[in-house]
Each structure stands twice: as structure tokens, then as C-alpha cells.
Symmetry: C3
Subunit: 140 residues, 3 copies
Amino acid sequence: MPFFRKIITVTTRHEGEVVNLTRQVATVVRESGIQEGLIHLFVRHSTAALTTIEYEPGVLSDLSRALSVLAPDDADYAHNRKWGDGNGRSHVKAALVGPCLTVPVTGGELSCGTWQQIVLLELDTNAGRDREIVCTVSGE
Amino acid sequence: MPFFRKIITVTTRHEGEVVNLTRQVATVVRESGIQEGLIHLFVRHSTAALTTIEYEPGVLSDLSRALSVLAPDDADYAHNRKWGDGNGRSHVKAALVGPCLTVPVTGGELSCGTWQQIVLLELDTNAGRDREIVCTVSGE
Amino acid sequence: MPFFRKIITVTTRHEGEVVNLTRQVATVVRESGIQEGLIHLFVRHSTAALTTIEYEPGVLSDLSRALSVLAPDDADYAHNRKWGDGNGRSHVKAALVGPCLTVPVTGGELSCGTWQQIVLLELDTNAGRDREIVCTVSGE
């Protein structure tokens, strides 16, 4: 069974940014030459996460608000107190959404739904970060 | 390494419905003939999600309430304002739970825990939807 | 494509415990002999979950508080009323975080970020549990 790996790197600009990775991931699928299989994505950072969502500004701001219910900006974070960091909330959100996503490949293409985009959530409070997403395509 | 694919389609009836997919997924595992491996599940929609849970009515209603903490019915959703839709909360919940799940296959069977069922969460406000779950079994 | 399976068992001591599995998972990767591929982890229980996080006591307590926003200790759980259990909140948290995680293997090692540890969340209210994590390594 063939196996293909590639790393996508994206530079994010601000906390709460949602990066639409769908096009780049679809390109990796095509480069792999795999027709039927799976693509696994993993973000190698503890303050970013991967999921799928309709890439529409309204939905994205609604998601951001929901994450703030879990980890409000103004809560008293033990992580912040200990390290003088301001990103306690970033770690919490990232752990709950999760770092990985696996999507089917059919007919040599990503098999997402019509309104279902693959996104990176930049959750850190520090801007201008390079984020690595390890892509692994397997199948036949 | 063998590889097997099948699509399960379920018709949901109402928002908040939790569909127990365990039996159908176990059937796909048996049809695949794979003894040791993994089954990956992916729901191809942006307002539904997959997870595991004890399929007991009390737990299911407790889960529904927890999701409403994240995305309350009466919040002011930017998605709803923009599109006249009522399903802003559905998108948010689906993005947080996630569209995919991978479960081990051992001895030709699903290897879930005793109280651990595979479920689809219907999160959309519109009833009567067909939901496609792409199943991919790999292994040996 | 080679394929390797091993079960890790950990004994947890209390609700809210976060077990750092990274070293044990790295050992499984080395035992597999697989150089490039994926390791899939699945916890076979409905009141435990897997994710990645920076294993720092402050962050871990911040995560615990965020989970309590979703499923507060003192909420009225239908599961508890029906079964006389006290672990309604445990089921809810586990279903939202999820039972599985897949991490890339590169150069025969786990490919996590520097501050990104693999953890088991013990969410049950009953202490002293044995938790099985099924590990599946595939690749080449």
C-alpha cells in the first residue's frame, strides 16, 4: 500500500485566526497519486488545532465565541501565573479541539462535504507563528 | 495490506438526535474480512459529528445540555444573521466534536469498550436529513 | 506495509488525573520498527479520553476547569438520577474530548511538537481504574 508524506507550513497572524487549509491539503492528495485511501493531518504545536467547518465568517466568529465560553479571556489561568505567559486559554482550547484530523480520499480527491472545509485554528496569543502540519496519505 | 471502503447512510429526524452506529459499523468490519487493523469513520457534513459514548438516554441528554453550554439556543449567531439560517449553533458544536473517529479492529471485530458505542450526533436544526458516513477499513 | 499492535495499560488514581503517556507510546513506536508512518491510540472506556497538551501542572488544572464549565460537578445529570451513579459528568467530558488520537512517526520516533505531550484524561469519579489504550502502528 503506497504511503506519502509532506509537511505544510502556514504563517498565522493573530489569535483566533482560522486558516482554510483545504486547497493545500487537496494538492498534497494529488501529489501523492493515491486514489482511494486516507489523509491524516497533525499540527505539531500545543496552541493550535485542526477541525472541519463551513468557512464562512459568521460561523468562524461563532466558533471563536464558543471557545471563549470554555476558556474565557479574563479567567485566572494557573499557566499564566506560573510562567508569566498569557496563553493559558490557548493551551486549553487546543487540547479540547485536538491536533489531528483524518479525511477520506476517493477518486484521487478529498472526500469532504460541500460545506466542510479543513481548517487550522490559531489559538495562541502571540502573533506571527509558523505552524507545521504533517500530512500522511495512505491507500492505493 | 488490504483496504476496504463502504458508505453508511442514515436518515435523521431531529436536532439533537444521537444515532447508534455501532451495529452498522461492526457489519462493515465483518464485510471487509480484515482481522487486525483500524476502521476510520468520517461524516461528510458540517452540522453533524462522530464520537463514542455510553448509549443510555440519561447520558445522551446530559451530552446535549453540555453542547448547549458551548452554543446556546438563544445566543446571537453571526451565521444566522448573515444567512437567515437557524443553524449557527449546529456548525459550532460539529466543529468542536469533530467529523472523524478511528477504532481498532481485533479478531475481525470492533474493539470498543463494553459501554462505548459509536454514535452520530445530528446537530442541525433542520430535520429529515440523509447523513453519509464514509467507512475505511485497513489492516491485514 | 508493516503493522504493529500493542496494548498499554495504566492504573489511574483519581478523577481529573492526566497521565503523560508520551514515553510509553514512544517505546511502542520503537518496538514496532516502523520508521515512517502513524501511530493510532484508542482508549477502550467511556469515561476516559485522549488528547495532546503541554504537560505542565498549571495548564492541566486550567484544562480541568474548562471541562467543568461543560459538565459542572453540581449539575443535575439524568445519568446519575437513573443509575445512582455519580459519573454523568465523566461520560459527557469523555464524549467531547474523544477516545482516539493519531500521531505521525518520522525517523522511527513520535513526531509531536516540543511542548506537545500525549495524555490520557481520567474523567471518572471512581478511582483506581485500569485503562487500556490500544496502540496501532502502521507505515514502512
